[in-house]
Every structure is written in structure tokens, then in C-alpha cells.
Symmetry: C2
């Protein structure tokens, strides 16, 4: 069989994957949004008539699998509302929107993006609409394009800004609905009514597939410790989900480290202990999952950085460190000391975000065990992150996103603004899903940023009392010494063979019972 | 649906995947090996009767997907030959074999390993059977266990040693067939009669899936250059296959670099040129594939290392370098200079194998473009290697390995020794495959190792006149500036949806025509 034909058959399969629509969405013209408390619930059987709509849409921030299906769902919904509706895509995020760089999305564009990965077609960007001036520009672009709706596909920051823009539009009487779609592979945009952000499912399955392979390699070659760094600066949802899916020997959750005021020293000690204990049983191999923000959560590292920056503010250098802070700094590998002295933020402050967490811990553990002759400690550092953001979406993300897009179209039709499209009962079959719209308002809280109080959507951190973390903390003790590894394999698009039909985090949070 | 049930359904699907057997193997009792020139060809329709057999088997070297199916095929073949045959697995490679650490493989073991990834169950090792003493020990283990056959699943070194052991057994009248199975994800064990080593297909598909995701991320976020390092020290088959599957902006093939005497400077220049050219079109992103052995192939790096080591042998240090070598050394990033001075081999010689190739090139390119204001050069270094060695085998590797195992059983039954099991026409459907046995003898050539002439299987390097490289060199010019990226997606086990049914390298080599 020729290459070309087999290659295109996968793409065709994905393009042809029939996305299911849940019952109340089956006929968009009959679907309406009913107020229930402060949320809107999608209902059927009340035919709505609408003139054609013109709606703008843009991606914002890092890509996440499923984004293109939001466009597909929006397009489908808008066309069902009125065949002459128009979907205007803005290029490269809010920057392109403010500059009115656009692409009208038609049948031909949709045909190429169904169930595909990435934020291609439109691209994305990091520009934020925050200032009064930017909001004026946004209003101008909306008016120029006669848009009744503007849909932001993004994370917590993007949805925060969407909220403020909706308020601004209301105040300035710009008749344009602003709607948010909860996106992030980090999984930290959830809470009241938002059960999961899209992309998290595919990304964690992609990482877990690779970690599972490493687990098997550890168990086959029996000579490597894989230190796997995973995305997640303040929230460790990705690490927690991957740990549940693959059962590594160790996994660290930044939220727990922060809560318990764990020190870097203690973490190094914990890893070294596992390495030594396993070596005693001739197991000079293992896997450790490390969220990239881990060292920023360590109490001693934070204290040291603070002390450094206080010293610096009075014109002193690192040599002015004393006590524990001095000791800690000097215990760090030289390469890390240099990194810290070099990578200063724009204010000249030392920062931890550029320090290679996995390498730091690996080097410190190595130092700690090197004199133990029973231990052969060979580390392979691995980082999974960018390679999961644009994977072909899992069936779950493909379906979830398509339906979110449809709901966004209905929100615009019904002139609702300041809402995020949402779906309830995501852990159940699609036939039991409920369409919703959650007021972004209710997700806002006050945070101090750059010395000012600001209304923002707080990042959802791992809940240490939640079912996923409880499941993990109940089981992890056994994983250290036994080889309880799982290898879920690559994502299967064939319905019946789906590796994990739903992310464990989602199912555990919703079902609140153990699946192991 | 509960987690447990969906998870096990994938494993069950893989366990239940019905491996096809090609026609002449359909009935093992009727299959026999016919001499054709110096190879043996598997034929049907001549019933063979055999007493029960006792056969030993071991893994050797790095794991490769499909290895467990070799065990399954051997087991099946041996049981078809005689229901009382016994398959003895040796633990942790040749080391475990010489110590007679064994596991008798029965129905229960087979039930858990079908179509699974890794060299679990037995483990693997790097011990080589080379010395006279080791061969005596090997003979003792064979006699103690009354083995009529010994099957080595390994790469070029392992099969070299299998050959010498077969000769030794013949000389010493140890009546035990020695059979090799061609394994390596590097793809460098092929040639006369061996069309492909097993594992290469799955590993390159696994890497290509991730590289495809990075391609999409480059095109979505438009802000990163992904420098992807891939396994392959002397041979670049993996990089070539992944390049054909994903169409990165640049990919380097060590064999070409060596042939053309390309310098590190020229490689850096080539990458920098692509970075600058793309930046002119506002494309500050891209993907570059780099085989891990690349810098060892650079003529200037080799000359510098040689000069260093000559100096060192007369008691001088790096300060004694002159001319081009001095200039090159000083042009290297400080971190690399230090790495070179630190990582000496056991003879105190400088070596390149520990230098991080991708990081070196990234840093030098950065230095080269940093004053160009039109260029935003943000590199993300990535390494794929260990995460592809134990993936769930593709349908191709699963089927190939099972059949190889069956052939190995027949070789032992027919008292053939010094052969590698092989299959012809791998690029065609299984129904057109031909079972073979290739004398390892014919693959041996003389190499100078450690000052001595030695008979070894030479590593198969990328053939610069072969169809895969030609296809690549014909197309690559277009990939630099255009975004011709492909993203093949994860391996699909569903037959009809297989991402790529066969590796492109194999198909191109066999069909000798273009598939693009």
C-alpha cells in the first residue's frame, strides 16, 4: 500500500470522526438558555428565530488540543441559527484582533480543521486587552465589522479580560456579546460550573503515553532513573493526572509542598531515600514526575530568594546571605548558582522560573548518593510540555470543544454577555451532558498584582482535599518500592479502544469514588 | 464508564490483536527450510516430525518494541512442533544466561505479553559473550539445560557474538543451534536479506508523532524553534525516517556530513541562515532534527579532538592547540569547552559523545543571530529516545516479531546454526511475505577494533545513494522556508487507521519510488 494513501486515511478518519451533540443541542433553533440562579441552562423545544449573526473569534495564549473544534462547532451553530451568519476569525490572538487582521471562516476552512490539533488556521498570541485604550480599539473593530459577538478561546487571564471587556461594552453601549471558552492544558481553569478546561485530557494522555513507555524502559533496561519534568508552574494538575495514569515511583505536587512548607532539602532527601531503598533490592531504576514549578513552591528556596532580593535592594550581593539561606545557596550545584545570579527579572531580582527543576534535583540527589556503593544512579532528564499542546484531540476533547462552540453561538444569538460556555456532567456519556453558561462574574476574586487590587479569575490549584489528590496520596506509598507502573499507550481514536475514555482527574472529581 | 474497565480494554485489545502468519508458516509442522544459495528459504508441504525441543532465549542491549512478540512466536512455533517443547527464558541478558538465571515461559506468561511493549518478563543486559571462558560457560549452561537451541534477540554486536558462539559450538561439538533475531530501533542492522530490524518502525512512529505535535505548535504559537535530538550515534536512519514522516525545516544526516566533510561551523551557518531567512518572512519558529552523533561526524570537530589528544599524549594541554583547532575550540560555548575538558574516556582522551549536540548547535546559532534585530530566536531543546524503545509495538512490529519467533523455532528444529531469522518482502502485505534464514557469516566483515582485526557485522549506515535519502534530499530544499510540516498523530492499532502502515524507509528502499 502506498504511503500517501495510508497517511491520508488517518487524517480522513479524524476529519470524518462524527462528533456527538448532546440532546438539548440537537436542534440549535429550538435551543434556548434558561436562567437558573445565576447560570444559564440550555433547554430545548422553544423555537428561536434570529437574523443572520456576525461573530468574531480568536485564540489566546498557548495552544490546546480541541481549539479548532470550537471553531467548527461555532460555525455549525451559527449556520443553523441562520444560513447567512458569518464567522470572522482574528489572526494571531488579540494583537491581530485589535489590528483587524481577519479571515472569514467558510465551509472550505472548516473542512480542513475538523478534529485536528493545534491553533493553526488562526494562530494565537499573548497580547492582552487590558487598558482603556485597547478597549476603545476593540470597540472600534467590533463596530467596523458589525459583530454581535466576540468569542475568546483562552485561559484564566483571557477570560478575566473578556469579563472586563464585557463590562466595558455594556457601559459604552457597544451591543456585542463577549463569550469565553475555557482553554488550558494546565487544567487550572475550573471551578464553579467549569468541570474541566479543554485540552487537559489530550495533553495528559499524550504525556502519560510517553511516561508509560519510560516506565517500561525502566523495567526493561533496569539502569535509568527518568526524571520527568511536566508543565505546570503554580498548579500541578498535569503531574497529578499523569501520576494517576502511570503510577511512577515518585511524583511531587507543588500545592502539597507549599502547604506543608516542604524544603528543597527534604525533597532531595525523599528522592535519595527512594533511590537507596530501591538499590537495596537491586532496582537501580525508576521514574519521578516533577512539575516545573516545584522549586518555587519550596519554602527554603523562597526564603533564600527573598533574602537575596532584600540584600540586592540595599546594594548588597549574594555574599551578604547568612544562616540557612547562605547554607542553602552554597549547597546548590554551581551551575544552578550561576543560573540564579544570571537570570534576573526586569527589576534585577533573582527568580526561580528559569532554573531547571529536574536537573537541580537530579544533581543534588546524585551528590547525596554518590558515596553509597550499592547505588548506581544514572539519571535521564526528560521534559514533556510543548509536545502535548498540539496533539490530535482525544475523542473527549474533540466532542467537548465542538459542543462548546455550539453553545457560544447560542449565547451570542441570545445576546448574553460576560459568560463562559460550559458543559455539566462531562464524566457521563454525551447523551447526559447539560449545556450551560457560567457568568464569569462569579469566578472573579480580588488579587494583589503589582501592588494593586485587581479583579481576576483565580487559578484553580490542586485541591488537597479533592478526590484525585486523595486517590494519589492513598496509593503513592506503594508505588515507591514496587514497580506498579502503568503504560496506557498512545491515544486511540477508535471509540471502543479509547485508552482512557475520560481523564482520571475529571472522573474522580465528579464521581468521588475510587477506580483502582 | 469506570476507569478500570476502559483502561483494561486497551490492553485487552492489544492482547487480543490477531497476529497474521504468512502462508508458508501457516502450518509449522509442514514448514521446512530449503537451501537456496547460501540462504534458507521457508517452504511448506513437507511434514516434519520432531521430538520435543528445549530452546533458550534472551534479550540483549537496549529494548525495542516487538521483542515480547518474538517470545510469543517462538513459544507458538515450539508448541506446534511438539506440545512438550520447552521455552527457557534467561533473565537480564547474557549475564543472566551465563549465571543460568532462568524463567520457563509457559501459557500464563505468554498470556500477559502478547503485543506489549518493553523487554519486561525477562529484562535485558549489556554483557557480551566474547571470551573463550565465556563461551565455555555458555556451553555449560546449554548442556545443563539440555538446550537444542539458543536464540539471541539483539543488534549488530549481539549477532556478531552469536556467530562466534555458533562457530565455537560447532568446533566443540556442542549440539545446539545458535539463532539471531535482528533487533534495534536505530535501524542500523540491515543489509543482505535483512530488510529491517524490528522496533525501528514503532520507535520512529512514536518520535514522529511527537515531532508532528511540535510542528503544529511551531505553526500555532509561532514563537519557538524546536531543536529535536534523536537517537543514532553513527547511523542517522531514525532522523531520516522522522524527517520523511514530519517534514521539519531542517534535518541533518551524519553520514552526509561525514561524506562531505562538513564542519560544525558550516552546520551552524546553515541553521542560522534558515533562521534569518524565515525571520524575514516573520516566521520566528521552526523545527530542526539532529541525530545525537552529529558533531562526531563534523570534520573540524574530529580534527580538533585528534589534535587535543595528540597534545595530551605528549603531556600538553588544550593551550597547545594552534590554528583552526585553536580557533574552533575557542568558538565553542564555555559550557561545552568545560564539558570537553571534563569528560575524558578511560584513556584520558577527550571525547565528543557526552557533548549535548542540540544545545551546542543552539547556543552557537544564538550567538550568530543575536545582533540581528529582525530575528527572535527562542530555542526549545527536546530529546526523544528512551521514550520510543518500549512503546506498544505497531501492528507491523507486532506481526513481524511474532513471525520471526516462529522462524527461529523452525531453525532450531532443523538444526540450523549461525543464522538470523528473516523475512523478505516486508513492504508487501503479510500474505506475500517469505520466511528466510540468513547466514550471519555473509554479513561479517573485518574491522579494526582496539588495534586488532576482528570479524564483525558492520553497522548499516544511511546509504546516500539509497531511495530514502534521495527522497529526502530532493524535497528538503522546499521545507526550509515553507511550512510543509506533517503531523502523523499517535500510532493507531485499528488496522484500517494505521497512521503509516509501514516505515517510509522500508517502503522507499523496497519499492524504489517516490510516495510523495
Amino acid at each position: 500500500m502506498g504511503k500517501e494513501s495510508t497517511k491520508s486515511s488517518l487524517e480522513e478518519k479524524r476529519l470524518g470522526f462524527k462528533v456527538e451533540v448532546f440532546p438539548s443541542l440537537k436542534n440549535v433553533q429550538d435551543a434556548y438558555l434558561k436562567e437558573e440562579g445565576n447560570v444559564l441552562k440550555l433547554m430545548a423545544h422553544e423555537t428561536q428565530h434570529s437574523p443572520p449573526l456576525r461573530v468574531g473569534v480568536m485564540f489566546s495564549g498557548g495552544p490546546a488540543p480541541g481549539g479548532l473544534n470550537v471553531l467548527w462547532g461555532m460555525y455549525k451553530g451559527l449556520k443553523e441559527i441562520h444560513s447567512e451568519s458569518v464567522l470572522v476569525g482574528f489572526l494571531d490572538g488579540a494583537g491581530g484582533f485589535l489590528a483587524d487582521n481577519q479571515l472569514v471562516i467558510g465551509e472550505e476552512e472548516i473542512a480542513t480543521i475538523k478534529n485536528q490539533g493545534g491553533f493553526t488556521l488562526l494562530g494565537t498570541g499573548r497580547t492582552k486587552i487590558e487598558t482603556e485604550e485597547q478597549m476603545q480599539e476593540a470597540a472600534a473593530v467590533v463596530k467596523k465589522n458589525r459583530l454581535q459577538g466576540l468569542v475568546f478561546i483562552g485561559g484564566d487571564d483571557t477570560n478575566t479580560n473578556a469579563y472586563h471587556l464585557a463590562k466595558y461594552f455594556e457601559k459604552e453601549k457597544v451591543r456585542c456579546s463577549v463569550v469565553g471558552i475555557p482553554k488550558t492544558i494546565d487544567g487550572d481553569l475550573k471551578g464553579e460550573g467549569i468541570e474541566a478546561s479543554f485540552g487537559f485530557d489530550t495533553a495528559t494522555k499524550t504525556y502519560s503515553s510517553m511516561i508509560g513507555n519510560l516506565n517500561k524502559d525502566a523495567l526493561s533496561a533496569k539502569k535509568y532513573w527518568f526524571f520527568v519534568k511536566l508543565m505546570g508552574r503554580s498548579a500541578s494538575h498535569v503531574t497529578l493526572e499523569c501520576a494517576l495514569q502511570t503510577r511512577p515511583n515518585l511524583a511531587f505536587i507543588s500545592e502539597e509542598v507549599q502547604k506543608k512548607k516542604t524544603t528543597l532539602k527534604e525533597i532531595v532527601e525523599e528522592v535519595a531515600k527512594a533511590v537507596v531503598e530501591r538499590a537495596k533490592e537491586d532496582k537501580n531504576y525508576g521514574t519521578v514526575l516533577i512539575p516545573e514549578g516545584l522549586i518555587e513552591a519550596c519554602s527554603d528556596m523562597k526564603a533564600m530568594i527573598d533574602a537575596c532580593n532584600v540584600n540586592r535592594s540595599v546594594g548588597k550581593g549574594i555574599e551578604a546571605l547568612t544562616g540557612n539561606e547562605k547554607e542553602l545557596f552554597e549547597s546548590l550545584p554551581l551551575s544552578i548558582q550561576k543560573q540564579l545570579q544570571k537570570d534576573l527579572d526586569p527589576h534585577g531580582n533573582m527568580q526561580l522560573s528559569h532554573v531547571s527543576t529536574d536537573q537541580l534535583i537530579a544533581e543534588m540527589v546524585e551528590e547525596r548518593v554518590k558515596d553509597n556503593e550499592a547505588v548506581k544512579f544514572k539519571v535521564v532528564p526528560v521534559f514533556y510540555g510543548y509536545d502535548g499542546r498540539c496533539a490530535l484531540p482525544s475523542n473527549f476533547d474533540a466532542t467537548y470543544c465542538y459542543n462548546l462552540g455550539m453553545i457560544a453561538a447560542i449565547l451570542v444569538r441570545d445576546r448574553k454577555t460576560g459568560f463562559m460556555a460550559a458543559i455539566k456532567n462531562l464524566h457521563l456519556p454525551v447523551s447526559e451532558w447539560d449545556g450551560m453558561a457560567i457568568p464569569i462574574d462569579g469566578m472573579m476574586s480580588t488579587e494583589r498584582r503589582h501592588g494593586k487590587e485587581k479583579l481576576v479569575i483565580a487559578k484553580a490549584l490542586v485541591d488537597l482535599k479533592g478526590a484525585p489528590f486523595k486517590e494519589f496520596s492513598k496509593k503513592r506509598g506503594k508505588w515507591i518500592k514496587s514497580d506498579a507502573y502503568l503504560a496506557p499507550g498512545p491515544i486511540q481514536f477508535d471509540d471502543e479502544a479509547s485508552a482512557f475514555e475520560k481523564t482520571l482527574t475529571l472522573v474522580l472529581e465528579r464521581k468521588k469514588r475510587s477506580f483502582f
